[in-house]
Point group: D2
Chain length 353, copies 4
């Protein structure tokens, strides 16, 4: 248990339970099962099986109870959890109208798209909330004079509002970006073995539309197995958001310095050696999360070099990085709201002195 988001004690600092739930193994498993049920239910549109057989398989699949750990050995063997999942679904349902015509990547990428859809909603709500919290902050302290600082040097007096706007305005732009991103990633993944719908024949579009619609995703005419620009763009947006919040965190740390004293925070972290200290722990954490995402982002873009119809190497790199990035983003948004709530004063005591 070394990942900070799931760690017995570091999770106290890093975890965002609501976001974690969207990307948990349980959520992924339930998305994968939802895909398989929808597939069984609509496969008849491509003649994979009869409507009745599919419907009965779908119902049975939805009733299957599976522990995430049951997929571990299969993943070790196959490099991907889906062959084991399909074996277990077939065993436990006795159904045959299962998975045929689909491929592992269809299942896993669709599950990711479902998590992304929820994640976009959650982030959008939090962006909106944080923006109004910051607006409230401006209402309270916005007119107070603040020393404007450029290149780490006192420049000219501005107001608190000028500073807080640099934290708030990009949040609104991020909401626009989220809305523009959504149709590019909230997509069903259906391609089959080599990504070309070969197993679906003339019924391909009908199946894609029905499965997508059941899952609340958009259909695609071409599978995106090997076109990963949507994933990399989603990661970019996560890092844009944490970058904005990291700037806010950095500013707060600088404002909280003794001798500068431009912000007062209620709460703050204690020290094991100096009980008198109040550390701006959450503001620092915003900087950490921004730098973390800026680092991870590089890997999602490296993963775009995705050879042929499916790159095992590049795809697995996405698994290692994307869920961490969304968790860092979710946590940063919560932390930014919490820090905002801690602020009891902003301004430069005497900016013209």
């Amino acid at each position: 248990m070394t990942g900070v988001f799931d760690h017995p004690w570091l999770s106290g600092l890093f975890a965002d339970d609501e976001m974690a739930a969207l990307w948990s193994a349980e959520a992924q498993l339930s998305h994968m099962i939802a895909f398989e049920a929808a597939w069984s239910r609509h496969g008849h549109l491509a003649g994979l099986w009869s409507e009745a057989e599919g419907a009965s398989a779908a119902t049975a699949i939805e009733a299957v109870s599976l522990a995430p750990e049951e997929l571990r050995d299969g993943t070790a063997l196959d490099g991907v959890c889906v062959p084991a999942l399909v074996r277990l679904l077939k065993e436990r349902t006795g159904a045959n109208a299962v998975h045929k015509g689909a491929t592992s990547q269809d299942v896993i990428d669709t599950a990711t798209a479902l998590s992304l859809a929820n994640c976009i909603d959650l982030i959008d709500q939090r962006l909106a909330r944080l923006a109004s919290e910051l607006e409230a902050l401006e209402l309270k302290f916005g007119a107070t004079p603040l020393m404007g600082r450029t290149r780490m040097q006192a420049a000219m007096p501005i107001t608190v509002s000028d500073r807080v706007q640099t934290w708030r305005l990009p949040l609104l732009t991020h909401r626009d970006r989220l809305a523009q991103l959504r149709p590019r990633v909230v997509l069903v993944q259906i391609g089959g073995a080599a990504g070309d719908h070969a197993a679906l024949g003339a019924g391909a579009d009908a199946v894609c539309e029905a499965v997508a619609s059941e899952l609340g995703l958009s259909p695609t005419t071409k599978s995106w197995h090997a076109m990963r620009d949507g994933m990399a763009e989603a990661a970019s947006l996560m890092s844009l958001i944490t970058g904005t919040l990291g700037k806010m965190g950095q500013d707060i740390c600088l404002m909280a310095q003794q001798g500068i004293d431009e912000i007062t925070l209620a709460g703050g972290g204690g020290s094991s050696a100096m009980p008198h200290k109040q550390n701006p722990v959450l503001a620092e954490l915003l900087v950490t999360l921004a730098r973390y995402n800026a680092v991870q982002l590089s890997g999602l873009h490296q993963a775009m070099v995705h050879e042929q119809e499916r790159s095992g190497a590049a795809w697995a790199l996405e698994w290692m990085l994307l869920p961490q990035m969304v968790q860092a983003t979710g946590r940063a948004l919560v932390v930014a709201s919490n820090v905002t709530a801690q602020i009891t004063w902003m301004g430069t005591p005497d900016p013209l002195s």
Copy 2:
């Protein structure tokens, strides 16, 4: 001269002269002078000087001849070229209605926005061109059978069209992204010393609109000195584009292997030791440029942690990275077109054997 884009011989491989021209020192200098002229011309709207005085200064500024090297010593001293530029403009024009109320970052960021505007146009044209070149390729070879390959292993036969679409379709999405990005970065930068328009008083909006309009940029109500999400998003899009092209390059390298023989390229690089070899140099270069941009991107996102009203440290990091990223992107688009033109055959000789 160690930068590959400007290097005496490596430029043969890496340089894109058309893109380089948009970001050259000469272009930047001319953008900065254009800003200063527009500033002089419209400063009267904020009462900085009389309309006549401003108009005369503007005309004089536009006539000044300056060598880029003349800004070197000043940059060494001030960390930014604008103080030297302003001194020289004043000296050579004798005008006083110069720069007052603006700040270095206004000048440099506006120059960058002007280069970005041109760059977005150029990239959009090239995306469109490459997309139609690839469409033409599909018309020629699209129906030919090709072995679909997943996880580096032969999977099921597909067609050339299936593969080429994974190169082409994201280009269309990138054009949408460019269109969405444009209003977020093709913006005038006007903030003054501490970013708050303090020196402009009630005339701030009028000046911003007039200067922006003269330069062909959009005005902003708030300066983006310390909100760098636009820059980081632009960098993200550059890397998304090179990522798509890197995937194309990787595929071509793999198809060109002896024993695979799924593509024939006219031309190709020679070897000093093996005159018989035809190396897929341009396809490899696409991979290099994709990985390069994926690396640089991390830095643009680190630079979002931009302290207070202006971070010298974070801003200078942008200077080191962004022009290189756009050059890599420009070059990758040219190279992708060139590689496409080299293709004289695609397909798997006998995919079912």
Copy 3:
């Protein structure tokens, strides 16, 4: 549970249990308790308490039973787990001769150094083992002709030995690097509140030596709270190792292509859509892990910009990255050994044809 190293099913692919144990929360907690016990035992050398009082506290501390989760709330509050740990140790032992004169970073960094010491041993053993496994491979197939390939093109015939040496020789150099790294990171961390041993007075060196010696670490004269070159160097070496193994994995993937057929692997991953396929899953995983570490490494180097006597922001970034990098390294070494064991044939069937 989104981290791949601890994930219910992805751990089947990514986890290295032996390495995970060295970095687990339980191991970290036991290292921290060992530090606190040693501190209590030797604090009398700096006059912090009497020898008897310290000895009795140490014994009591060693007997305390603590669940990692008990530190969660405190970490959430203080941004670091040590204040909570110290509170709990004092509560459960009733002792007072606890922690005084030390600081959170002393405890946590020392725990990391202890994990690194074990980790260096484990990696060194595995490097040695893998090197001899590859040597054995050379004995078996080394003389077999193999087509040398440069720039993805057939160049001139070489032997299997020439290729395998590019996988094996760097392992020996990595062992040299590990030996050189060891004295730079297997160091006790003792600095106290502001890193200057102020609370220890003239007894500082004596305490440092005694605590270090009890823990099997080297003492230091200056605390490394804010000098993070050792951590960044350790991360660099992790990435050098996975880089070498990634090259091996990439080569194997390329050799395993149908049409190239230069390697035969027993085992290999299955496909949910194509039961006939044998995917070189482990070889791909080596590429993934190499690219992962190359990405993370950037963050450890960003974390060197560590402000003043302790940067909460930079330090927490290390927590997010370093344990993941060592796990990726541990896993890559196991995977490389496993792939080596799977190889039943190497060579180019007819390199001169």
Copy 4:
């Protein structure tokens, strides 16, 4: 001309002329010519030509005058400059005892190793100089009280010496690292077409030793065409050095804040808007260069995934990154010395107030 190290005015801030000279096109060309001359001179040891023929070719090669630009078109064609170089050398000398048995990568990597050798010397001198400059600073101000600051908060008073040691001590460790790195990278590269010395037969070792010795490099028994751990390690060390200096720069920026006032710097950058400001431009630059190298480093490690006997894609990525990293490192060392010389006072006016 967009690269900051060669830019008409940005070079004022970023260029290190001494380091640039070691990596210039002219220096690389002269190293390549030195390799070719040594190759001609000693090729007779492998029976490539007669001793007299080789000696005469070597002398002629050494007398050839070539402009770097003459290699541009060939590089565009072949992806590497060596085929053009060899053609030109043959044309201009009329000699035949040229290059045979060597390959492009032998020439270019050896030229890089020669630059690295000089670069290691230069960096070592600068590390030594900076360490003694910082030691002198400690002599001057070391005993002055300074507020120790942890997590951006005042902690406990320390001394200036405590702070400065965190800048100075790692420099000494970096010197040890340089000494350990040297034998791993100051190596001749000789492998021939496929890296196996095939063209040299029994004379391979004799040629390698003679060429290496003439060039002042160490010989190797196995070419390192595809083993890039040395390059990636060199890059890691560059980033470790700039990381240490970035920490120093960050500290100075923080100390120079009004309200903190813990350092006085003579000089400092001017502002176009605020003539009264003294910006800590060089200290900020140290942060920029540290973050720059931390970013680039990732790419050198990605380039370790070097397929088969030579990866054009990975190798070209090194060309894009390594010379920039060494220039950033060289510049950072000069800047750190310059900042140190600017310091006229350090200490916290009244740390206990």
